[in-house]
Structure formats: structure tokens, C-alpha cells
Symmetry: C2
Subunit: 322 residues, 2 copies
Amino acid sequence: MIDKKTIDRAIDLMFEDVGFKEEPADLYAPLRYMIRIGGKRIRPRLCLTAYSLFRDSLDESVIQPAAALEVFHSFTLIHDDIMDKSEKRRGQPTVWTKWGDDEAILSGDVMCIEAFRRLAFAPAAVLPEVLALFTDTAASVCEGQQLDMDYEKLSDVTMDRYMEMIGLKTAVLLACSAKMGAVLAGASTENAGKLYDYGYLLGLAFQVADDYLDVYGDEKLFGKPIGGDIVNNKKSWMLTRALEKTSDRDGLRRILALPVENVEQRLSKIAAMKAVYDSLELADEAKNAIGSITADALEAVSGMQGYGALESYAFKLVGRVK
Amino acid sequence: MIDKKTIDRAIDLMFEDVGFKEEPADLYAPLRYMIRIGGKRIRPRLCLTAYSLFRDSLDESVIQPAAALEVFHSFTLIHDDIMDKSEKRRGQPTVWTKWGDDEAILSGDVMCIEAFRRLAFAPAAVLPEVLALFTDTAASVCEGQQLDMDYEKLSDVTMDRYMEMIGLKTAVLLACSAKMGAVLAGASTENAGKLYDYGYLLGLAFQVADDYLDVYGDEKLFGKPIGGDIVNNKKSWMLTRALEKTSDRDGLRRILALPVENVEQRLSKIAAMKAVYDSLELADEAKNAIGSITADALEAVSGMQGYGALESYAFKLVGRVK
């Protein structure tokens, strides 16, 4: 077992020790920028936490593949931000806003490749399995982004389709992170499978929590403006559930059709939609869903050695929802 | 030794046997499209040819990694075409023209990942080396595209810089193709190194030949309109050498500044530039350069078992220049 303090230190040093190349400057500067503005490193932390259950020390053969998960995630954000025309990310200008579309495409590409370079640090004995897991996951993440874009064109989506989409776009990468930690540690296939399920379910809970916080969160803690999903008519958990539950679909569609040209219009649309969510009592329902999926995630690994570390990780990840 | 006919058949079947996923349709259709309009499969052919020197039969452990080279190359074309705003590729509409920028970005991404998935078929014993070689190469190709974009903003580049750029953008992937065939076959480090040099030099010759054919080629054989580099003021071998050699740089710059709004203007600019190249006798010089670099490539592998196959491959690749 490796303690949390050791993992914390490894996460802090992860992108200090091993940086990116310097030249050509325009190509590599966006990579450093994205990592620098980067968030809580939840994917490498999950990988190291899973690894810590079965091993007593960390080395490059797990730290670099764990870093690959963060690098890959950052790559998807660079490209998603172009497609979604998002101008801000974690309060900072996005790469395409700062460097232009072409640079954002190319720097994203080299960041994707950089993820695979770091993956190659895995021990040779497990590299084939790690590479297969990672490539399947990476393709799924792209499929999730595709569904996200497809669903934008639909007037509404069912809860099943919503869950499928966030499963691909968010949950598989957390599932991969947890399983990869187990595989790198040489854990049994059974434990690796359980950790995959744990990561997957936790990923679903995390995304539902994110959708909840977009409406009911504290802007400072959330890190982005409240109501962004409402402004963009995003097929979030909240909207999907509201469309299922409301008896006044026409009223809901009128709110979806409201213009968002200026700040005033945006605030008024957010307020109107929030009033619907309030009247449908979605806040409690969302919190219950998050709690229940998180419980399922923990159930998947119940009795595993070092369970406490997995419980702490889960509560830290979705604990923002109170 | 594996004969050419067996390699030809493997190349023909390469993307028939193992296709791409069907769903989501918009995500995977561009991959099939790019492979279908794809050209001469020179990279997988080089990989299989190098492999054939040391082995007597082909199997998935070399065919899939060889296919990965073509898939990766196609991915770079999808993204390059967005950046370069190219509307046609091999006489067909480019992916971004057909499906839009967002689809082209995302389908390119999943195609890059697909390349790594196929690479994972390499035998476990050589997978670490193959993965390291491939990721280093892939990053270099992105660096080459970056230099290409950077150089577009410069008024001229030196021949050294031109060679560095095509080295990264074109030659490293051919070098990787040849070396990977050797590594997959379990060839000696010495032979793998020689094949790397052979592929690299051949890649340089291939790119100079491409630049030559853009001016002096037969449009039907060349597969794209003659004079594209001239219209786009591309820093080709021809232009780089002309800028070095001319005693009338101002005259050359006046041609570079000519407008290309309509067909007439484009044809007139092409004719003006071609007249300069003719007066500087660049056609012969280019052919000599191509011949000399190709000779260096063959020198790198002289005396190797199965040398004849490498010689045939080289002449087929750059033999379009007569």
C-alpha cells in the first residue's frame, strides 16, 4: 500500500520533472499551457490510487502512464473547445482563442501522440494490455464527443442515450484510469475488472454532478460560470430529466428557444430554466442519483484490500455536491 | 525472403479484411473514405518490403503495424487539409469540404488512435521498441507540419531549412516504415539502422520529386493539378533553389506577389514562375538531386541480403521523374 501523501507528491511533480519539448515553440507552448491551467489531475490520481492498493512504491513505469491519462484528457479538451467554440476553460482563454484554430488542431495532435509516448513507459510484460485498453478507451472518448455533437441536433434525448453518451465521453476514461493502475501493478484480472466498473460508475456520477453544479453550484468552487449548459441548450442530466418529467413540454421548449445574444438575455434564460428545475424538484433527484451511482461504484470494489483509499477518492470526486 | 507478388496481395487486402467500425456513422465514414481514395500505400509497402528481407511469410503481427503507417499518414492528411484549406485530395473533395471542419478534426483524431490500435498487433517482444519508434516519428511529422506553416510566413527559406522541414514532414515516416519492418522481423540493430537511413533518404528524394513534378509532371500521372505549389507560394525545392540561384530576386518576388484570384491569373503566374525555373535550368538540377539522394539511399543498404527488392522499391517510388 502506498499512502495518500506519496501519491499527492507524485501528482505535484508529475509535470514538473518531465516537461514537453521547447521547439517548434508554437507547437509545444499550448501543451505546457493546457497542463499549467489544468485542474485536479483526477485521472492520474485515480490510476495511482488503484496502483497503490497492490504495490508499496511508485516509479516511472506507473507515473508516466498515469501522466498519459492527463495528457490525453487535455488533448481532447483542446479539440473539443474548437468544435464547441468554447472561449474559456478553467477561467483562461482556450488554446484556439489564444493561438488560432490551426495551431489548436496541430498542438492537440502532438499532445495525443505525447500521451502514447508516455504510455510506452509501462513494463514490457503488460504493455500490450495497457496499449489495447488505452486505444479502445481513446476511441470511445471520440465516439462520445460524436454523440454529443449528434445529440445537439436532436430536440431531446432519452435518459438511456444521455447515459450512453456520458459513459463514452467521460466514464470510460476514468474506468481506464482505475483499471490501468491495477494492470500496471500486476493485479488479478478480477480486481482489474472490478476497478474498471468502479471507475466507470464513478465517471457517470462525476458527470451528473458536473451537470448538477452547472445549475446549483458555487461559481467560485465550480471554476466556470453557472448556467453554461442552459445557455448552450446542452443535453445535460438536468435537461434530459426535465424533458422526461415535465407535463409542460411546450413551456420547456419555449425556454430552450429563448435568445442568448447578451448578458441580460442569458441571465433571464438561466433563471427561467432554473425555475422549471426547481418546480420539478430536480436538485434532490440529481443528488439522489449521484449518491446512488457512487454507492454502486463502491459496491463494485467492496471488500477489496485498501478499500478505504477508493472510498476517500470517490467522496472527494463527487463530494462537491452537498 | 517474401516475393513481391505476396506483398502486392497483402497490400490489396490490407483494408479489405480489416475495416473500421460502422457507428457512429459520421465519425467513421471519413476514415473509410480517406482509405478508399488513398494512393499507392507506399509506407506499408516499404514496411513489408523491409520485413521481407528477413522473413519467409507474412502474418497479422506485421500487416497490422504496416497498416498503422498508412492510417497514421491518412490522419495527418485529414488535418493538414483543414489547416491548408485544401479542397481536393487525389481529385476528390477533402474530408473537411465534405463533412465540415468539426467532423474532420474528430474523425482525424479517431484515425490517429486507430493507427496506435493496429500498432498493438506487433509481437510483445518488440512492441516497446515499435511504439517508441512510432511515437517519436509521429511527433516529428507534427513538427514538420509546424515548420511548414512557420515557413509560409517567411519570405524565403534556405535549402538547409527546406531539407530539415521535409525531413520531418515526409522522410521520417518513410524511415520509420523501413525500420519498423526490420524491427518486426527481428533484424539486427545494424540492419534496422541502415534501413532507417535508406527510408529517410528515399523520403527526401520522394519529396523533391513531388516538388519537381508539381512543375514538370504529367497531370494525369501526378494525380493533382500542375502548379499548385506555385499558386500557393509554397516553399518547395524548386522555389528554394530558385531563390538561392537567381540574380534577379526582385523579379522573382514580383512573381510571388502576383494575384491568383481566377484561373487566368493562376495560369499566368504558373507560366511566369516556370519560365524562371526554365531559365535557371532547375529541371535538370532537380533530377540530378533526386538521382543523387536516391543513390545515397541505396548506398546505405548496399550489400544487404535482398538488396534487389530495395532497389526496385526505390526506383518505383522516384521513377516517375524521367
